[in-house]
Subunit: 230 residues, 2 copies
């Protein structure tokens, strides 16, 4: 087998990996949108769809892991190629977690819709839309090998942290004012926390994108707003 | 360089990886104990130590990632060796997350100790101790390549999920009875959720341990109690 042939094969397998990850990313974004629909429309059936669909993201992550192991064993990539393979593993793990959070939001939306006193979910909508933008930008920076875009994601995550902290405080106030709000609002707080965590995973993806392109680590210098609530 | 020499070098580098991961694991366990001390002794200074120490776990994870990339590039491991390297990457990521949760618990303990009405934290102590056992068992199954022990961890995680769900319900009751409990109890709920998540990461570690030893995936068949609260 000629060297050129091996090189071609690596590239085509890498393209396949990117395809799988792209599919995972699109699915995760669509899951977030559907989870938000489940919350806003108080629809248990949409929520159930989201919960069911999450299995597909999990399966895709296992496919990526499998392909990565095969690629490492057969092609023995070096330098940037090796970073690409490492990056695929990391990014797929982050997307899988984002999918889990979408599933958790859907699960809680079912509990929420069963409670009498419904908390205002407008703040949650804004939060999810911001998180979706971050995930979308992070995936784009990864797919297009765009280090500048990756840096921008890290900075924008601060916006999401601030929006989360502000919503957290607001919801605590409602709870104190009306005890019937306690149970549904607690679920709302957990949903908001899930979204804040999605932003962290978007940041992780952006950091991996930066590392794949440059070979440098941005992690040490991450600008992090310490949210009061951990 | 003889084949034997290469083999020896791989083994010694793998031993080094295991050493790093062992160090991470012990640090994470000690962080959990100290986070619990911070909660029970209402000590902001212990909490600050925990927050500070977390950086060390993060640094160790980066070391593992670095060593894994080098090992892949230089040694090009196959079959079980490759699973070992893959496992090291996965397990270190899970320990890093466990460390994050310990840090989050410490952060919230500071907020808790500043509130007037302090919620009962006895349930939290039991939860953390259970989580520590799970993490400890998972790390042992990984370190000793013990597939049976790995399976047992997955089953025991169900206990933790049940204990969490029961604590969650109990705390919601306190909040409804006494509005002054709302803010501190909300933080308590988030801490409990962190601990429940630690159990999930212990399960992940056990699953990786099983995969490294057997080459098979246990993930598809994970017995999962659906906690009502996602």
């Amino acid at each position: 087998m000629s060297q050129e042939h091996i090189v071609k094969s690596f590239d085509s397998e890498l393209t396949r990996l990117y395809g799988e990850i792209n599919g995972m990313g699109e699915l995760a974004l669509s899951q977030l949108s559907r989870a938000l629909d489940a919350v806003n429309q108080r629809s248990a059936s949409i929520a159930s769809e989201v919960i069911e669909q999450d299995k597909q993201i999990d399966a895709l992550e296992r496919d990526v892991g499998h392909d990565v192991l095969r690629l490492l064993a057969l092609r023995q990539p070096m330098a940037r190629d090796l970073r690409e393979v490492y990056g695929a593993l990391k990014v797929s793990a982050d997307i899988e977690r984002i999918g889990d959070y979408a599933k958790n939001i859907a699960k809680r939306s079912i509990i929420l819709s069963g409670t009498q006193a419904l908390p205002a979910t407008g703040g949650l909508t804004a939060l999810i839309n911001l998180a979706k933008e971050l995930v979308s930008e992070a995936l784009l920076s990864y797919k297009s090998h765009d280090a500048e875009r990756a840096i921008a994601v890290r900075v924008r995550d601060i916006e999401l942290d601030r929006a989360y902290t502000s919503l957290f405080r607001e919801v605590l106030t409602y709870m104190a004012e009306d005890p019937r709000q306690i149970t549904p609002s607690t679920h709302l707080l957990f949903m908001a926390k899930n979204i804040e965590r999605i932003g962290d995973h978007a940041t992780n993806i952006a950091e991996v994108a930066y590392f794949v392109v440059t070979g440098d680590n941005l992690i040490e210098a991450r600008p992090k707003v310490e949210t009061v609530v951990g």
